[in-house]
Point group: none
Chain length 215, copies 4
């Protein structure tokens, strides 16, 4: 690991502010949508002045880009760990699902939900940065697809386009997100996990096996 100098106070403050702003942006966009969220609202939610955001992010596009990258990169890293692990595909599937629901619950409620919003927004506003986020999503979907592909090859999953299965998995996760939002209960996501796992396993595997007993 590289030599890591003690961060200066300035760097600490900058990192703190950056996180604060990203968190505020997430919060506001969750209820207002990407397009409707104004920099004023985000600043207010972060407890700072509007102009201050521009000290940490060059533009709204940049802020969104950072937001998406942050979540996307983390998610990607975690997925890579799962994909690289020597596990049978159904087990990987369970882990992926658990991971996605964790993201949905803990802090990154948004990624699965507003990615599409973000795409639309970038299509209109930003040109240059679009590619990176698209690539992130592509790699995320690709990793999950490969899990399905493996399972299909090994005869454990039903034969179908792995990408379609991936979209279905994501659709189920989003469904839980919407359910969570509409119910307003904090536990909704956690409670849905066993159901989702059971559902996914019985649906995706060729011969339903018993996974309900797992944690």
């Amino acid at each position: 690991m590289a030599f890591k100098p003690k961060p200066t106070k300035k760097e600490v403050v900058t990192a703190f502010r950056t996180r604060e702003i990203l968190a505020a942006a997430r919060e506001v966009m969750e209820c207002r949508g990407v397009e409707s969220a104004t920099m004023d609202e985000i600043a207010h939610a972060a407890g700072i002045a509007k102009g201050t955001i521009y000290l940490y992010f060059q533009s709204k596009e940049d802020l969104l880009h950072a937001l998406m990258s942050q979540v996307g990169e983390n998610l990607l890293r975690n997925l890579e760990d799962i994909a690289a692990a020597p596990l049978p595909p159904p087990e990987k599937l369970v882990r992926v699902l658990t991971l996605l629901l964790e993201y949905l619950e803990r802090e990154q409620v948004l990624f699965p939900i507003y990615l599409r919003d973000f795409y639309r927004w970038l299509q209109r506003r930003g040109r240059g940065r679009f590619g990176y986020i698209q690539e992130l999503e592509e790699r995320i979907l690709g990793l999950i697809s490969r899990c399905f592909a493996e399972g299909i090859e090994q005869g454990q999953f039903i034969p179908a386009d792995p990408r379609l299965l991936t979209y279905m998995l994501r659709g189920l996760v989003r469904a839980v997100g919407f359910y969570h939002l509409s119910q307003g209960r904090k536990k909704a996501i956690k409670e849905a996990l066993p159901l989702l796992i059971r559902f996914a396993l019985t649906g995706f595997t060729r011969k339903p096996q018993e996974y309900e007993g797992r944690s």
Copy 2:
């Protein structure tokens, strides 16, 4: 059947233009999002001038309202027919799924996909017509939920919150929509139907039955 006078030429043109504009609005909103879609873009997509839209719709809100109502009311009517039919819940489920995918294909993804966008948009504009669309969705989700509830009561479906199951069903349908969009193939939706039916039945029913043989 009621007496149906021959429509005047003007009525025909008006109906045609109305449909053209609605189709253009659907198209633009599908790729730009409800909020980002500008009247200029919609007009351009419809091959007319911006002001012309206002000859057929009073405002952007009115246009959206017409869009949502049109699809929502039809969908609701069809769902009511299914719900009222004396069929076993799994059979109803299959029919609902088939219907939703048909809408996804014919109506260009509209209702299931951007309803949420629409909500957010209305949140900012005023509640005028909001209630009606909300009620439509509520009734649609309610009908589907009741199918699940029936099946659960009769021990055919897995015990879970029927509303969560409904969200999951919708999530799967949307997933096919996104898959369709990303693949760009016209047949994608039709091809996905058997898979989705199999998946839903094995996932939702307590003991997987054999439905794959159905058309």
Copy 3:
């Protein structure tokens, strides 16, 4: 008098339509104001289609110009008759006042009231035609001013800027117009005439004389 050929049917219709449109324009502008009156409203009030107006007038500006010219020219002609008559200035004043109130009442309710509106409108929209209407008003005010000037020279009117006295006279006439509008009674203007005459004579003449007995 020049030879006057029998007007063709076309000319008759044209003249009729022109008058109809002008009357409708007057009516609409009276309640909506010059700027707010739309061509649609005027056409509707005239019982014709919007496009038809453009067969008789080149533009809204042209229509307004015709409207103002028509009334202004008539008024000017009548005022010239009064000014040219060999009458003592107070008598002329009474006749001018009577004339102005007649215009206010009968058909040209607008001239004294919305002339200013019209100016403002022309300042923004039209450039070329402004001069003629301005000249008309100038000549109207000039004629009345000359009556005052005569009276002042002959020692019958109070010494003051004749133009100020003219503005005051016009202000009184407009006051009756507003009173009429606010009361909504048709007779308001006629009833106000004796009062206005008495008021003007006692106010403008150096030694109040008795004119109340006059018709």
Copy 4:
């Protein structure tokens, strides 16, 4: 007198900008009319950008409302003082006239001149705040009318509808305003005061009295 804390710099700037914008709006509306005045023009006249106006006023209607209220409320207060004073009606009349001309000069013609424009504009926009301004004018006209009514009861003024007399008084004041505008001289209003007083007294009072000696 209440404790008056030193205003913050921000408050000072806000008050200054507010006054600047109101003054600019007055200026533009005076020459363009209420309806024709655009926010762009007003902003330009105030030397600021269009959007800046919206930092101080919520809408064009709000700006107009502030404009009318400001002047109307002041005028009403001053008129109430005059009306409440134990003075003979002719004396009150002189004071009212003096007051109105002062407003005409100081407040740049506003209230008496374009109130009617404002009404028309509001007719098209919605009644929200309409009532208050209407009430203000009603009370202003009512106070002046009552002065006339008193004088008529006491046999000092000519018998006539007090409201008509009020409109006439206002018409005379407006006349001076237009005279002022057409002459472009700053002193025009002040110079017209004695004439107007003489004119009003000889016109409105039953037996002309000598008021010319007053300041």
